[in-house]
Symmetry: C2
Subunit: 329 residues, 2 copies
């Protein structure tokens, strides 16, 4: 068993409260005493029991993170960002994966809620009202989704899609297809909205191929529809799907980017390793995680302005050397 505060107190010849103070409020205790306590603690390998502390302070020092699918390389990056920032602030992180099941989210939130000071929902798929209800009872931050009156960090998809369209247009494309992700994904909705606006403004034609699973296989599945639509370029919901598109297009004997150009979103590590390397809208994924923690800590400090807190992160077109985008006509 671990050393308790009482043992440290005895070892240092002071009361437990003094130990407590010396360790968590060093300034208010005599320097010599503090020194003695710290050494005693060290000698005994003491570290406070966070659960016991939480019981009285009402703070657990823990934070929860829920993601739809760790197998999608987007999410591990976000998790790393969350971890890094959380550790800096001396928080530990509970992680849960919903396997892309929207109905699992609320349950996980409720389970975790009691053990954490706050939760980060990354790309949650649940309906808005459900999430808003959860946010009533638990400090909550949305990452990669924007919900009014719920603290949110999200990417500027509108600008991202504008960059994408500007690039395609500069290359001479007139018709572009959109391969969407899950219906339940806010990003899908936000991106297609941005794409609509951008193509309209540029006088280009947009073909919406529909919704597909956000996996490699989803991209594969979408490819034939895209080809049939006769576009010269396609933007996919994410890089993994774009790689699926690439794969299927190649299997059908199409030349990328000669016959059709493919663009992804996310800038996952692997996207630079395909051939042709994927041109993509790069997202600062770790930054998303870090920002989410920032927001969460902020609303823990001042819960009263939780409804106002939000943060938009930039997106950046990343044209790869052996680009998947070619001039048409």
């Amino acid at each position: 068993m671990r050393a308790t505060i009482r043992e440290v107190a005895r070892e240092a010849g002071v009361s437990p409260s003094t130990v407590s103070r010396a360790l968590s409020n060093p300034e208010i205790v005599n320097a010599a005493t503090r020194e003695r306590v710290v050494r005693a603690a060290q000698r005994l390998g003491y570290a406070p029991n966070r659960a016991a502390r939480g019981l009285i302070t009402g703070r657990t020092g823990n934070l929860g993170l829920i993601v739809p699918d760790l197998a999608n390389p987007f999410f591990p990056s976000v998790v790393k960002g969350v971890q890094a920032k959380a550790r800096e602030a001396d928080y530990a992180v509970f992680l849960s994966d919903t396997d892309e099941d929207p109905s699992a989210e609320a349950g996980l939130v409720r389970i975790l809620a009691k053990q954490v000071d706050g939760l980060i929902l990354c790309s949650p798929r649940a309906p808005e009202e459900e999430i808003r209800a959860l946010a009533e009872s638990t400090p909550l931050v949305m990452a990669n989704r924007r919900i009014r009156n719920v603290p949110s960090v999200f990417f500027d998809n509108t600008d991202g899609m504008r960059q994408a369209v500007a690039h395609l247009r500069a290359l001479g494309h007139q018709r572009v297809a959109w391969v969407g992700g899950p219906r339940t994904s806010w990003s899908t909705r936000d991106r297609v909205r941005g794409l609509r606006a951008a193509t309209a403004a540029a006088g280009m034609e947009l073909v919406v191929a529909g919704h597909f699973p956000p996996y490699f296989e989803g991209g594969v599945a979408a490819a034939d529809l895209v080809v049939a639509s006769g576009v010269t370029s396609v933007v996919a919901y994410n890089d993994v799907m774009a790689l699926g598109l690439l794969s299927r297009l190649r299997d059908r004997g199409l030349d990328v980017p000669g016959d059709i150009s493919v663009m992804g979103i996310d800038d996952i590590h692997m996207s630079g390793m395909s051939s042709p390397a994927l041109t993509t809208i790069s997202l600062t994924k770790e930054q998303l995680g870090r920002a989410a923690v920032d927001l969460l800590l902020a609303i823990l400090e001042r819960p009263e302005d939780a409804r106002k807190v939000r943060r938009e992160l930039p997106t950046q077109l990343l044209v790869r050397a052996s680009t998947g985008l070619a001039r048409t006509n």
Copy 2:
């Protein structure tokens, strides 16, 4: 604030102890009373505070998982396995990522130790003695590493390497290179050992190219050495590195598998999507996670036989259709 056990007690017209019993030891309480308690709890949305419970039972219902690098697709799979199994057993999971820094591991273990019932160290890079010392003070399970007298789940690398060599030999290869991962990785050591044995038994020549970072870039870095060594085939520490090899070999104008055959280990999702698709030694990664949780729960039940607990998982050669392995001469 959440409802407490006292409020439920009042609502049900019983004492707190009865509520406690009704909820965690239903048999020992009168059916009618139990019913009343359960309904009161439901009405108030009560759920016990796990921290408070843990304080007295000594069990937190939490478990910790430490991985070297979530950006390596191997680890998210393991994490998913751990999550799934943990959730079944009603455990929540703390996750930490060390960024491949062996010296960070002990610190994280110590931080998490107090908040969990047990820890899973996945592919830990720390020295054996250090880990053995940690295992003295905390219930610990090693995943993907074998340490004597510490509960371990690991893959049968020896057999995996035998399968790899048998396949290469069947294709006519006589010289094979090994591209190793971090020195600190048990898998690197175990695999090269297996490879030595298998090549010797098969009368083949093994060239050990050395140690490289377990990233795509590591594979890229190793490629030129491999080419210079004049082998006709190469086995990489993991799929990510194998993809790096593939990339660099292609850049140098070499034909894979015509000029040189490449084999990976892990069977990450992406390995089936490269071209040529990667032949690999497939590992049951989620199974590794699930088995680690199993072991952990077992030693929590019966700490006395912790030293005996271990589990070996099979490996399976996976020859991809558009394989990276060609017959030489």
